[in-house]
Symmetry: C2
DNA sequence: TTGAAAGCGCTAACAA
DNA sequence: TTGTTAGCGCTTTCAA
C-alpha cells in the first residue's frame, strides 16, 4: 500500500500508518500506559510484527528522564576478584532492570582516566560504580562529576561517596592471629599492589603483629602476577627465620608455595603459607590453601544496592560492610619442632 | 542575572542564554562542527564551565544516527576464558570509542534469554557480540533480531553470523597426538559442558585417537567446577588402564590432578594429565601444566574487529580463526615402564 | 560567522 | 478510547 519500503528501519510513524491509527495509540500499546481497544491493539501489534518494528531506545531515553544503565569503572576486569565483583553487580542490576557498561581504566594517569570517564559520561547514565581496588580506580573516582550518583567499592573505609567494603583489616588480623596462635614467632607478608599507601590486608597484618608484640618484618611487594610470588617464595625459602607467610591474595600464595617448593621447602611442613580471597582453585591446590573467603559477587551486589538507594532518594544506607570469614585448610600448621 | 538557578541539570539553552548566543552556536563549539568566533567561543566555554553543563547523551544519541555502544551477551562473565575475552573486547572497543555493555544469560531457557535480550535491545546499540561458549550463549544468539549487526565467538566454525574462533579441534588433536607420541596407548578425556552436542576439543581428541587407531574411551563429563574434576580424578586414578588424561580445561585438569593425588597416583609419574587454555595458574601448578594456550583477549579483540568491519559496511572478513599453540610443561610424560 | 527554523522518534498532556 | 498538540535536548539545514 502506502507503506514506504525504504531500507531505513521502521519508526513508530510507519506502524501507525500501517495500522491506521495515530502515533500515540501505537505508543500506548507499546508502553501499556493506557487502554486501547482490542481491535486497534491487534492491528497495531500486527503492524509491529510485519514491519519488524522496534522502538528507538535513543528516543525513549530522551523523553524518559530516568536512564536505566549504570557504568562500572575498574582498573581490570578479568582478574578473579574484579570479575566476580562485576558479575555480582551485573546480576543485581539486571534483576532491577538496569544495563551495565564496563570501562577499564588502564592506568592512574590522566590520559587513561580521561578516556574512560568521558566514554562513561557520553552515555545516558543512572549512576556509576567505581572499583577502587587499585590506583587507577582511585584516580577515576576523583574525576567523576560530583552530581552523578556514585558508589565505590574498596577494601578500606573512607569518607566521600557511599561505599561497599570488606573489612579486610579485621579479617587479615584474624588470619595472622591464627598463625601466631599456631606458634609462629612472627609472620612474613607478601603484599599485592596497594590501591593507596597501604591496603587493609597489610594494616591488619601489622596490627596483629604489634598486638602480639611480635617482630614486624619488612613486607615484600608482589605484582598481580603469580610468577612474582614464585620469585619471592624462592627468596623467602632461603631465609631460615621465615616460618609463616601471609600473602596478599591466593594467587600470590600459590606462586609463593611454588617458589618455596622449588628451593626444597615443604608447605606447611617447613613453612606455613596463607592467602586471601578464597580463589576457586584454593581448595584444589596442594596443599589446600588456608585463606579468607571474600564473597566478591556479594560485594558487587551490595554496591548496586547502595546505588539503587541513592537513585531512589532514600537517604538510607551509605555504607555496607562485611567481615570475610577465615577458611582453614591445610597450608598452615605449627612451626617445625613445635607440637601444638 | 536571568539565569534560572533551578535544581535541574543545565541544558544547552541555559548555556546559550548565559553566554548571550544562540543554541546552535553552543552546539557548534560543543561539536567543533563549524567555526565560531573566538570571542563567542570563549563566552560559551565559560558558561559551560560555570554551569557545569554536560550535553545530554540521550539527546545526542537521538539525533546522531550512529550509536557508539556494543553489547556483549554471555552465559558467564567471571570464569577465566569469559572474563579474558570480555577484557579483549572492551579494550578494542574503548580504543575505537565504543562503550561495552555486558549482559549475562543465566540459562538457555526462554525466560533468561528474553530478559537478557530485551535489556540489550532497549538501549541505543551499534551491534552485539555473543559468547557462544555454552548453551545459554547459543540460545541468546538465536533471539537476536537479524537486522542487528552481530558477531559470535565460539570454538566451532559454523555458518550464520560472522565469527571469531579458536581452532580448538586442531589444537586438541595436536595435544592428543603429543600424548600418543609419548607412548600412551590411548588418552582418556574429561570434558567440560559442551555448548552444543560436541565441542571442538572433544572432536579433536576423538579424531586423533581414530587417526592413531587407538581405542576411544567413553569421555567423562565434568561441570565447570574444579571440584567435579577432582571427583573424576579419583575415579580415573583407580583404573589401571588410565595413563593419560586430556581435560577440557586447565581448571578441570587441576581438579583431576588433585583427585589422582588423593588416591595415591603421581602426575606425571603414574598418569599424565593435560589441560586446555593456559590458565594464569597453569605454570604455578605442581606439576606445571602441559596445555594449549588460548589467547582469549585476542579472541575478543578479533571479534570486535569483525563487528567493526560489519558496521563500516566493508564486507571484508566475516571470519577470524587462530590455532592455539601447545605449551609443553611437566604434567605429561611417557607412560610408566616405557623410556621414550 | 551567526541565528531562525526544522527535525531526530518517541511519550505526555490535553481535548474531544 | 482516541487523536491533536507539545515537547524531551540536541544537531542540522537554511538564510542572512
Amino acid at each position: 500500500m502506502s507503506t514506504a519500503p525504504g531500507s531505513k528501519p521502521p519508526v513508530i510513524d510507519d506502524v501507525a500508518r500501517r495500522a491506521g491509527v495515530s502515533v500515540p495509540t501505537v505508543s500506548r500499546v507499546l508502553t501499556g500506559a493506557a487502554k486501547v481497544s482490542d481491535e486497534k491493539r491487534l492491528r497495531v501489534l500486527a503492524a509491529i510484527d510485519e514491519l519488524k518494528f522496534r522502538p528507538s531506545a535513543a528516543a525513549r531515553a530522551l523523553v524518559a528522564r530516568a536512564p536505566k544503565s549504570i557504568a562500572v569503572l575498574a582498573g581490570d576486569t578479568s582478574r578473579y576478584g574484579y570479575a566476580e565483583t562485576i558479575r555480582g553487580i551485573e546480576e543485581s542490576a539486571r534483576n532491577a532492570g538496569y544495563l551495565v557498561t564496563i570501562t577499564v581504566v588502564e592506568t592512574p594517569h590522566d590520559d587513561s582516566v580521561d578516556v574512560a570517564v568521558s566514554l562513561v559520561l557520553n552515555q545516558p547514565l543512572a549512576g556509576v560504580i567505581v572499583l577502587k581496588f587499585d590506583p587507577a580506580g582511585v584516580a577515576a573516582l576523583q574525576k567523576i562529576p560530583s552530581d552523578i550518583p556514585t558508589v565505590s567499592i574498596s577494601g578500606l573505609r573512607e569518607t566521600g561517596v557511599p561505599q561497599a567494603v570488606f573489612q579486610e583489616a579485621a579479617a587479615a588480623e584474624h588470619l595472622v592471629e591464627y598463625l601466631l596462635d599456631l606458634g609462629h614467632k612472627t609472620v612474613h607478608h607478601v603484599r599485592i599492589p596497594p590501591s593507596r599507601k597501604e591496603d587493609g590486608r597489610t594494616t591488619g597484618w601489622r596490627r596483629a603483629l604489634k598486638e602480639a608484640k611480635a617482630e614486624v618484618p619488612e613486607p615484600r611487594d608482589a605484582t598481580w602476577e603469580p610468577e612474582s610470588g614464585r620469585v619471592i617464595g624462592r627468596e623467602l625459602g632461603l631465609d631460615p627465620n621465615v616460618t609463616a607467610i601471609f600473602c596478599g591474595n591466593d594467587e600470590i600464595a600459590m606462586g609463593v608455595i611454588r617458589g618455596l617448593t622449588e628451593v626444597g621447602k615443604s608447605v606447611p611442613g617447613d613453612v606455613s603459607v596463607v592467602g586471601f580471597d578464597d580463589h576457586p582453585l584454593a581448595a584444589m591446590w596442594s596443599p589446600p590453601l588456608t585463606t579468607v573467603r571474600q564473597d566478591f559477587a556479594d560485594l558487587g551486589s551490595r554496591a548496586f544496592d547502595l546505588l539503587e538507594a541513592l537513585l531512589s532518594d532514600h537517604p538510607a544506607k551509605r555504607f555496607s560492610a562485611a567481615l570475610p570469614p577465615l577458611v582453614i585448610r591445610e597450608s598452615a600448621a605449627p612451626p617445625k619442632g613445635r607440637v601444638n
